[in-house]
């Protein structure tokens, strides 16, 4: 973990270059993972689950099962009372988690427990108010110390993100932003500049949730983003089957699977089997991505 760093414009450029190099060497787990996968020509699989659904102990078991099944990064949803970007599946998941007073410090402890035995990157995916309420400095510091690698704040557009970004940068966390089919060229450039780690491309206009089919335009839209940024591009919202994930693998660097996984966890009645079921589904998705890589 790197401590707070502030780059002064007055520093001689060689020093700045040196620091940049150090930065590369201290590239966090997300960057390393994408570099590693790129060498193998493989698309990353990023499963999403909600922290605390149905409770934090089971969430830890699920995270471990995902990691063992080949997840390349885990998006850990921070439950929020008003999840405006989420469809019914993740709304219900959030509601289940919030039946107990699940707090950010408790979620950080969860990440720390996971980190004790796994190296898989973790991105905290949530809404701004709980982060803001905890205090942005404290949030970033404790998230980084727990072993989280990135932050995605769905209701925080780049133009309002300076304060959070200051702290995520200071503690070496990647702040990830969303792009969508309605984003214009200016927006794409802005997000490309602001993002760290990867860019999250929302595959459809709308909220999270499994979908049967995708717009043929998706491939071209992702290519459009690629022209503006060298960062890996993850595609999410709506991916629910191994076939869809494999198709996404043809043009994106990561496939994010949320609602379909959360639904499986929800439908597995036996609490002890939730992790196993989640792992089995992710293994299936991962197989499809590996196969797609071999075919390519």
């Amino acid at each position: 973990m790197s401590g707070p760093q502030s780059y002064s414009r007055n520093v001689v450029s060689s020093l700045a270059m040196l620091k940049r190099e150090q930065k590369l060497q201290t590239m966090n787990r997300i960057g390393k993972k994408f570099t590693e996968l790129k060498q193998r020509g493989e698309t990353a699989l990023i499963p999403f689950i909600t922290a605390g659904d149905p409770d934090l102990d089971i969430t830890l078991e699920i995270m471990k099962a995902l990691a063992e099944a080949g997840a390349d990064c885990i998006e850990l949803g921070i439950p929020f009372s008003d999840p405006t970007a989420d469809g019914p599946t993740i709304q219900r998941s959030s509601e289940r988690a919030l039946k107990r007073p699940v707090s950010l410090p408790a979620i950080f402890r969860l990440v720390k427990r996971f980190r004790a035995s796994f190296d898989v990157p973790v991105v905290l995916f949530g809404y701004y108010n709980p982060f803001f309420r905890l205090g942005l400095e404290k949030f970033a510091r404790e998230a980084a110390h727990a072993g989280a690698d990135g932050v995605l704040c769905v209701d925080l557009p780049p133009e309002e993100s300076a304060e959070l970004k200051h702290w995520t940068d200071a503690f070496g966390l990647d702040l990830i932003f969303l792009l969508s089919p309605t984003s214009d060229a200016k927006r794409i450039q802005q997000v490309a500049r602001a993002s760290r780690g990867f860019i999250y491309y929302v595959s459809v206009t709308g909220v999270t949730g499994a979908r049967r089919s995708f717009d043929d335009q998706l491939r071209a839209q992702v290519a459009r983003v690629r022209r503006e940024s060298s960062l890996p591009i993850g595609v999410g919202f709506g991916i629910s089957t191994p076939e869809q994930a494999a198709w996404i693998a043809g043009f994106a660097d990561a496939a994010v699977v949320g609602s379909a996984l959360v639904e499986r966890i929800e439908k597995t009645q036996d609490r002890k089997k939730k992790a196993k079921q989640a792992g089995a589904f992710v293994a299936q998705l991962k197989r499809a991505l590996r196969q797609a890589a071999r075919l390519a």
Binding site: N129, F132, R133, T182
Partner: protein, 374 residues
């Protein structure tokens, strides 16, 4: 975000366009029935004893509340933007009715999101919306009230953003809504300012308005913000009492937070989760408040007070009995507070209260509260 940028650009253009302003004014006059009277409540003044009380009669607007000032403005904008489908959230149903009304008037498709709990409380307004040709979509998530309706409307908007215009009813939500709704509602304060100068030859000492999201209060206050001698009082819903936790007083009982795309006072717990609200007035039952009102409170320009459910019911009875006017439960909160404010002032001083809506929609609720079967 791109949708907000598109809206912001469209509004910036319309705002400067004299033909837009002319069109807006014309509909306010011919369709809404403006200007509304600034009525001297003589018997109420005498009963309370103190300052002269004027009522800004927004209850006399078409559809029965100030909400339509804003929906006229936004529907004209939606038409300019070429949107065919209008969606809106509603709590008490007044904004839903006002939206369904203008959608019918301009022949646009309309869907209103409303919490299931509010649908139960406001059956009459639900029927009105349906009669006006709107589809009412019940929201079963969360507390099933206004904030949940807004969540669902936002979800619908991002899904159907190309065809759909989201017509927000309060000075809340993401920019440019708080500014735009304030501008459209400012007709209230602009008229009141002109009217009081004519009637009293001076500006008022106090303005009083109820605050849920804050549209009627911003509408009354905004044209007076620079008049330093005019004090302003926002009245929040204390529900069962602020100390009980069952209230909707975001400014007096909340903390700074981010909800629905704006930073403002928000009712939340120490973990940053938005908490459920309570008010007998469905239109005040929202855990946030307009960001500009929060700013005006922090700068000391606007003072805040609160009224409980019981105070509001008492105020309805008072106004009905002494003036023959039945106010909406929301507006009754302002009436309850004015009774306290006016008493402290002298008979040479003047108070304007925004009577933001009429009480017809609330008769079932009031009856229930008073134990009267209707």
């Amino acid at each position: 975000m791109p949708a907000l940028a598109e809206l912001e650009a469209a509004y910036a253009k319309a705002r400067r366009d004299p033909s837009f302003r002319k069109e807006f004014k014309s509909y306010l006059r011919e369709y809404v029935g403006r200007e509304t009277p600034l009525y001297f409540a003589e018997r109420l003044t005498r009963q309370i004893g103190g300052a002269k009380i004027y009522l800004k009669r927004e209850d006399l607007c078409h559809t029965g509340a100030h909400k339509i000032n804003n929906t006229i403005g936004q529907i004209l904008l939606a038409r300019r933007m070429g949107k065919q489908r209008i969606i809106a959230e509603t709590g008490a149903g007044q904004h839903g009715v006002a939206t369904a009304t203008v959608a019918a008037r301009f022949g646009l498709t309309c869907e209103i999101f409303m919490g299931k709990e509010d649908i139960r409380r406001q059956a009459l307004n639900v029927f009105r919306m349906k009669l006006l040709g709107a589809k009412v979509r019940a929201v079963e998530a969360g507390s099933q009230t206004l904030k949940d309706a807004m969540n669902e409307a936002l979800r619908d908007w991002v899904t159907n953003v190309r065809s759909t215009y989201y017509l927000i009813g309060s000075v809340a939500g993401p920019h440019p809504y708080p500014m735009m709704v304030r501008d459209f509602q400012s007709v209230i304060g602009a008229e009141a300012r002109r009217q009081i100068l004519k009637k009293e030859g001076r500006l008022p000492d106090y303005l009083v308005a109820c605050v849920g999201g804050g549209s009627n209060s911003m509408g009354l206050f905004y044209p007076f913000v620079r008049d330093r001698g005019v004090k302003m009082l926002g009245v929040e819903a204390a529900g069962h009492g602020i100390p009980t936790g069952k209230h909707s007083a975001s400014i007096q009982g909340g903390a700074v937070g981010i909800l629905h795309g704006s930073k403002s006072y928000v009712l939340q717990n120490d973990r940053g989760q938005i908490t459920e609200t309570h008010s007998i007035a469905a239109g005040l039952d929202y855990p946030g408040v307009g960001p500009e009102l929060s700013y005006l409170r922090d700068s000391g320009r606007v003072e805040f007070a609160s009224a409980t459910d019981r105070d509001a019911i008492a105020a309805i009875k008072l106004l009905a009995e002494v003036e023959g006017i039945i106010p909406a439960l929301e507006s009754a909160h302002a009436i309850a507070a004015v009774a306290k404010v006016a008493r402290r002032l002298t008979s040479r001083q003047v108070v304007i209260v925004n009577l933001s809506g009429r009480g017809d929609k609330d008769m079932m609720t009031v009856g229930e509260y008073l134990g009267v079967k209707l």
